[in-house]
Symmetry: C2
Subunit: 153 residues, 2 copies
Amino acid sequence: MSVSGKLELVEEGRKAEDYRLDEQVGFVLRKANQRHLAIFAARIGDLTPPQFAALAKLHEVGETSQNQLGQLIAMDAATIKGVIDRLKVRRLVALAPHARDRRRLLVNLTDEGRTAIEALLPLARDVTDDTLAPLTPREAATFLRLLSKLADG
Amino acid sequence: MSVSGKLELVEEGRKAEDYRLDEQVGFVLRKANQRHLAIFAARIGDLTPPQFAALAKLHEVGETSQNQLGQLIAMDAATIKGVIDRLKVRRLVALAPHARDRRRLLVNLTDEGRTAIEALLPLARDVTDDTLAPLTPREAATFLRLLSKLADG
DNA sequence: GGTATATCATTTGTACACGAACGAATTCCG
DNA sequence: CGGAATTCGTTCGTGTACAAATGATATACC
């Protein structure tokens, strides 16, 4: 029936039966994410990836409002609030009211936060390297290009 | 200084400053996952991806124990329990004790669950297609291959 | 046969993640 | 100017995720 082989890139053999969960992007994406999380936790134990992302982005862009920071690291208002709350308790970030816009809450690194994130950046590179280790450098470059395309829609 | 161009695949320009969060695999992986989740929610509103995964896998393999099912879809015991609990309330799965091993809890689709998952499978294909839409078919094939390599370590 | 070990499921605690609803402050614009 | 629409932050509710502790049952093996 079906012409086997010959660049059959789009698998349109769509019977009700042959849906294989393990081959769906979403499922594999989730598993890849799990593996990355595990590698991250092994290397950077006392900070979660979202917490690290918040600190790293603050280090990149300096003081910003809470929601703005959330947008920069793809977290909605409710999520970023929880992350900042926990970082604040640990004194890695400090909050201040915005001078002219009383709705805004400015977030910035404390000295302690800056020291911490600068110490962690090398480890974060290792996390990236470990995650990409199953791929050759060439594959890794391709993968990152396609992944970005996918993420940005 | 640095030789620009010429297949410089591994970017080893590792100064303390030029860590860009937005280019790290983990971060982009998370964003890609977010986009997929949004597409899934738009197409399959009344079931979450983990719930769908559980039903789809049950449909694939038939009755299994709760933990076994969790392993098949990469969820730990605590997580799969929550998912199954919610599916049970909605009568999409049914639980039964294992005959010879009283520790085990057998999970299976109800008739309603089977009807539901079979109706959803075509939509799930659309979710996959939409997610991969930013890529050409060739790119999508490459991406999935590399992603699987990454996910499996 | 009985103990050491392993497996299955549950519970607890912490941390995202997001939709929806809300109040306060600001901006837009007629 | 002044009301409408937006933006900013908070809260609530639901649903993953995973580590760690626990109890019940099975299996291994001496």
